[in-house]
């Protein structure tokens, strides 16, 4: 066990897989010599050589196409898209190619690729370095989407993603890289040092894809969330005075609906929280499935807390970010009507 922040945990996952499997190669913009703009691949080129950890041209579509071709030739590529805001030039390769290759070829070919990409706001990144585009990918059949909320999960899930024979888009909320964030920017920054999920095994372990985790147990209401909003929701739950259960999805698709439904059917009340914009967001899908599974057990309408349907505004970051106050309001609405 070691104390790791999320970057170190992600770095460690790469390290372990590069060591374990010669078919693993790691590449992306600035990931080689420099070790990535967030240092996620720091030291790996030095350790494993330039042929296994290398820089790419600035062409996200090319990066993913390269990965698909390498995957077809028996390698296991791990790519970094520097910011998820930059993933769109690769959209065709992810959505039309990687996700459907196994299907369209009748199972003859597949794309065992991992696409890591930092997402989310709260870092003064403006509208081009703060987006949460996961809902665009959860809509696509044939890719798995993950968003880790802490170092322990990030490492275990990333190893699972790399070992998975299907394409995985792995979102990393960059606000959480150095510490949990509870939604109040005025509070001093926290580190992972004192957090239980900052305790990370040095060696190999996996967290299964497709399994949610209950990170706070309660009987009054269930919050379903993921990424940065896990921590914000926990803080709001604490402040609310209610006995709130919080579920961290960890994997968005395939969605662990059974886990969610068993909680919501028990509590009868639910709030769905994400940082991404609301309309057509993944929260709508979660809400719809809860309605299908739990309608007759519900005591109150489900509420959603999400980003406003606007680009992430630089100067109004904290008016945009769905902070503790909005989650707290939603809890109260659902509890008190």
């Amino acid at each position: 066990m070691a104390k790791m922040n999320m970057i170190q945990a992600i770095n460690s996952a790469h390290d372990i897989m590069l060591e374990k499997d010669k078919s693993v190669v790691v590449f992306g913009e600035d990931v080689g010599y420099f070790g990535g703009v967030f240092n996620a691949t720091e030291g790996l080129q030095e350790k494993y050589g330039i042929q296994r950890v290398f820089d790419t041209p600035i062409a996200e579509g090319g990066i993913i196409a390269l990965a698909i071709g390498m995957g077809v030739n028996d390698l296991r590529p791990v790519t970094e898209i520097q910011f998820s805001d930059y993933i769109y030039p690769a959209f065709d390769q992810i959505v039309s190619e990687a996700s459907r290759l196994r299907y369209r070829s009748g199972g003859e070919y597949w794309a065992p690729i991992t696409i890591r990409t930092p997402c989310g706001g709260g870092i003064r990144g403006g509208q081009t370095h703060s987006q949460s585009p996961e809902g665009i990918f959860t809509h696509v059949s044939g890719i798995k989407t993950i968003m880790a909320s802490n170092p322990y999960d990030a490492k275990g899930l990333l190893i699972s993603a790399i070992e998975d024979d299907d394409p995985v888009v792995f979102f990393e909320p960059k606000r959480l890289y150095n510490g949990p964030f509870y939604g109040d920017p005025k509070q001093p920054a926290q580190s992972w040092e004192k957090h239980a999920k900052g305790e990370v095994p040095d060696g190999y372990y996996t967290i299964p894809i497709g399994k949610a985790e209950t990170v706070r147990f309660g009987n009054d209401l269930t919050i379903v969330t993921y990424g940065t909003m896990v921590h914000v929701s926990l803080a709001a739950a604490e402040m609310s005075g209610y006995d709130v259960e919080v579920i961290d999805l960890r994997t968005l698709t395939p969605l662990d609906i059974d886990h969610i439904a068993s909680s919501v059917c028990r509590t009868g009340r639910c709030v769905v929280v994400h940082e991404a914009t609301q309309t057509g967001g993944f929260g709508a899908e979660i809400l719809s499935q809860i309605q299908e599974e739990c309608f007759w057990k519900l005591e109150a309408p489900i509420e959603r807390v999400a980003g406003w349907d606007i680009p992430y505004p630089h100067a109004f970051e904290w008016e945009y970010f769905p902070g503790q106050g909005r989650v707290l309001d939603a809890i109260k609405n659902v509890m008190e009507g």
């Binding site: 090319g62 390269l66 071709g69 070829s105 059949s141």
Partner: protein, 410 residues
């Protein structure tokens, strides 16, 4: 609007449209044999001229001339001829079957058979092919059973793509033939990735990929060229310039400003331009590029200068956008006819043998088609199991797909 000094919007248009006589006299076509064959490891910086010339071996008098003559034995040339003839007869049959409603769609490659057949023959079987949708000759040359190709096109119970793909979007792993996408150009940089992996593993297999001249306008083309050049990938990047992208002539893709082969020059790789209707020339440039790649020389881009003699697909009518007899007027002739005449010229073939071969291939195609139909067509007979449509989304079927399958009741 402010007046300017002659600045004018330029929208390129072809020289001739329906109702007009075709006109190709503007084309600069050097004589066969006029272009020298460089050393396979020549520095691309010294090869600019190749991008603006045209490598040709077969003269219009049916003789093979010049340094690029690959010196193929008669047996190999007859094999090439046979594959090209099979491709054409297969195409004709399948198009007819589409017309009578046996399948939803078809695309012929008439006039372009030399590109895929000669290239498949010039490559090793271990080399990986990332084709576009008009290279069925690759499959035929590599010996794929016509029955399997037909089963796929009919989306029947024996379709290896399990009824999921539009006809002609073949996949054939056993033959190192990648699954055809349908989204233009996406395979171009994927082929580079495959080639990079080959180099990473220290193997000498290379990748070859094909796109049309229209697709050079996509970002995928640029990605493929950039990544291939940067990583010195053992890959052959083919641009089949068949003059037409559905109804858009090659000028809409930028072909009026420079040749497509010249694109290679800018990326620091050889850009070879070859008469795509000249079986021997296509074979020779492919051998050259393959040898270069296997020797560590990296990528080569090849522009195949040819003509799409039929419609883009069964969904368009070329008489609406180009002169009707343009194909017949193409100054570089027809690839089958040219190789046939060459073989006759050297005493290795005859009209009688040719007629007999047509008969034999037609009988084969007819027999294969009858069998294929017995396994079903899109609209009748057996189809793949309906429940299979929920499979292969992922390696393991997730719970939600199992539930959706149950909901459909299959």
């Amino acid at each position: 609007m402010t007046p300017n000094n002659g600045n004018k919007l330029n929208v390129p248009a072809p020289r001739k449209r329906p109702g007009e006589a075709p006109e190709f006299h503007n084309l600069d076509i050097p004589d066969a044999g006029a272009v020298a064959r460089p050393d396979v490891m020549m520095d691309p910086k010294e090869m600019f001229g190749y991008a603006n010339s045209l490598i040709r071996v077969l003269k219009m008098n049916n003789k093979a001339v010049g340094e690029w003559d690959p010196g193929l034995c008669a047996d190999d040339m007859r094999k090439g001829l046979y594959h090209m003839m099979t491709t054409r007869i297969y195409d004709d049959r399948m198009q007819n079957m589409q017309r009578v409603g046996k399948m939803s769609f078809y695309m012929k490659c008439r006039g372009e058979e030399a590109v895929s057949v000669a290239q498949a023959m010039a490559l090793d079987d271990k080399d990986m092919l990332f084709p576009s949708y008009r290279q069925q000759g690759l499959l035929i040359s590599r010996g794929r059973d016509l029955l399997d190709m037909m089963n796929h096109c009919l989306s029947n119970s024996k379709d290896n793509c399990k009824g999921r793909q539009l006809p002609i979007m073949y996949s054939w792993r056993e033959g190192n033939f990648f699954s055809i996408s349908g989204n233009l150009g996406t395979q171009f940089c994927q082929a580079v990735g495959w080639a990079v992996a080959s180099a990473y593993k220290g193997e000498d297999a290379l990748a070859a990929t094909w796109i049309g001249e229209g697709t050079t306008a996509t970002s995928d083309f640029h990605h493929g060229m950039t990544f291939a050049a940067v990583y010195n990938a053992p890959v052959i990047l083919n641009v089949v310039n068949n003059q037409w992208a559905i109804s858009s002539f090659q000028g809409i893709a930028g072909g009026e400003k420079s040749t497509f082969a010249a694109r290679g020059v800018g990326y620091g790789m050889p850009g070879l331009r070859v008469d795509g209707n000249d079986f021997l020339a296509v074979y020779a440039v492919t051998k050259w590029a393959a040898e270069r790649a296997r020797n560590g020389g990296g990528p080569t881009m090849i522009e195949h200068f040819t003509y799409r003699a039929d419609a883009h697909s069964t969904s368009d009518d070329p008489s609406k956008y180009r002169p009707e007899d343009e194909a017949e007027s193409w100054p570089l002739g027809d690839p089958i006819e040219r190789l046939k005449q060459h073989l006759i010229e050297i005493g290795e073939w005859s009209e009688e043998k040719h007629a007999a071969a047509i008969k034999e291939i037609t009988a084969l195609v007819t027999r294969k088609y009858k069998e294929a139909e017995s396994y079903g067509t899109l609209n009748s007979g057996e189809r793949p199991e309906v429940s299979s449509m929920f499979e292969d989304i992922f390696k393991e079927q997730p719970e939600h797909l199992r539930r959706q399958r149950q909901k459909l009741g299959v």
